[in-house]
């Protein structure tokens, strides 16, 4: 993979990958950086680069969490409580970034990772199923359950189309 291709991948997907890695560990930037270096080390680039990156980031983040288990629990809580998951939205009618982050933190990790991968990573349910394991229908059911939970927690009412 050439440097131009790698730079484009970093610019387009690094933020979403860091958000995805944040579900498990408190050092998501290191995990994402290692994932990109691993991609540069490949002799032949993978066919589907984005799902491959999400899988590598997920495995790296889980390994990082296991390596510092006790301390990571404290750090995970501290990181999860950090309100800087999203850039504050300029749209006054949009969702509050801080509130959305806090609502996401309350979700179970197996539902949260699917929502993050689908809404901000752009992965399909088939790609998510390949990354986390299981079937695409299971991934969709969890995603739908997560939306319901967020709807309850955010108290957001469905926006009506005009």
């Amino acid at each position: 993979m050439g440097p131009d291709q790698l730079a484009e991948l970093v610019n387009r997907h690094a933020a979403a990958l860091v958000l995805y890695a944040r579900q498990w560990c408190a050092t998501p930037e290191d995990v994402v950086q290692n994932a990109f270096l691993k991609l540069a080390r490949q002799k032949v680039p993978p066919d589907n680069t984005l799902p491959w990156l999400y899988k590598v980031v997920r495995n790296g983040a889980i390994d990082a969490a296991r390596a510092a288990h006790r301390r990571q629990k404290y750090e995970a809580r501290a990181a999860s409580a950090a309100p800087t998951w999203f850039v504050p939205s300029d749209d006054p009618t949009g969702l509050d970034a801080h509130a959305a982050a806090e609502a996401l933190v309350e979700l179970p990790v197996e539902i949260r990772e699917i929502m993050v991968a689908h809404l901000w990573g752009g992965l399909t349910f088939e790609q998510i199923a390949d990354t986390v394991g299981g079937s695409a229908s299971t991934a969709y059911r969890r995603y739908a359950a997560g939306l319901d939970l967020l709807r309850d927690r955010l108290g957001a009412r469905p926006l009506r189309r005009h």
Partner: protein, 190 residues
């Protein structure tokens, strides 16, 4: 906002909450992109260097193996004493020359009116013939040489008569009888 995070992306579905969530942009990372690309280049270079280093090592190992085998073969050849072949020459007596069988010269065939026909005689035979002819014409037939045919296998007429149950004396073959001496020619009277 990238296309993947566009709330109008079909991946967001028709759920308004999903579209509203997708509008939120993830916080920028604290990663140094330039440093990341630099390290990625180093990693790719190290991968290539490692590959060619392994190729060089394999080549060196192969050449060393070939060199060792060649050295062993050379030492083996050098230590083997040369084989000297001793050739004995013996002088053998020349083979006995078997003389060709003597055959009577074929006299030239005389055809009246046509002269001598047939195979042309060799010069020696022709010279001998002309000499005898001259002598006979000069001194008479008494000078003709005795033409002795090849002696046949000796035949005993008595045994032959007995084997054929013939009375004795039937096979009175003149040539088997003792020849009377030829009378000497009378000298020419003056």
């Amino acid at each position: 906002m990238t296309n993947d995070q566009n709330p109008d992306n079909p991946l967001c579905g028709a759920d308004p909450l999903a579209r509203a969530l997708a509008k939120l942009r993830p916080a920028p990372t604290g990663m140094d992109t330039n440093r990341l690309l630099f390290e990625a280049g180093q990693v790719a270079r190290d991968r290539d260097v490692t590959f060619w280093r392994r190729v060089s090592l394999a080549q060196f190992a192969l050449m060393a193996t070939v060199g060792c085998v060649a050295a062993v073969l050379l030492v083996k050849l050098a230590s083997t004493p040369p084989q000297i072949q001793v050739v004995h020459f013996t002088v053998q007596p020349p083979p006995e020359e078997i003389p060709p069988p003597r055959t009577a010269p074929e006299p030239p065939v005389y055809a009246p009116g046509n002269g001598f026909v047939g195979k042309a005689p060799d010069p020696d035979t022709l010279a001998e013939y002309l000499r005898v002819r001259h002598e006979v014409l000069t001194a008479g037939l008494g000078l003709l040489p005795d033409y002795k045919p090849r002696p046949a296998d000796p035949v005993n007429p008595d045994e032959l008569e007995r084997s054929l149950n013939l009375p004795p004396g039937v096979l009175a073959i003149p040539q088997w009888q003792t020849r009377k001496p030829r009378p000497e020619p009378e000298p020419d009277s003056p």
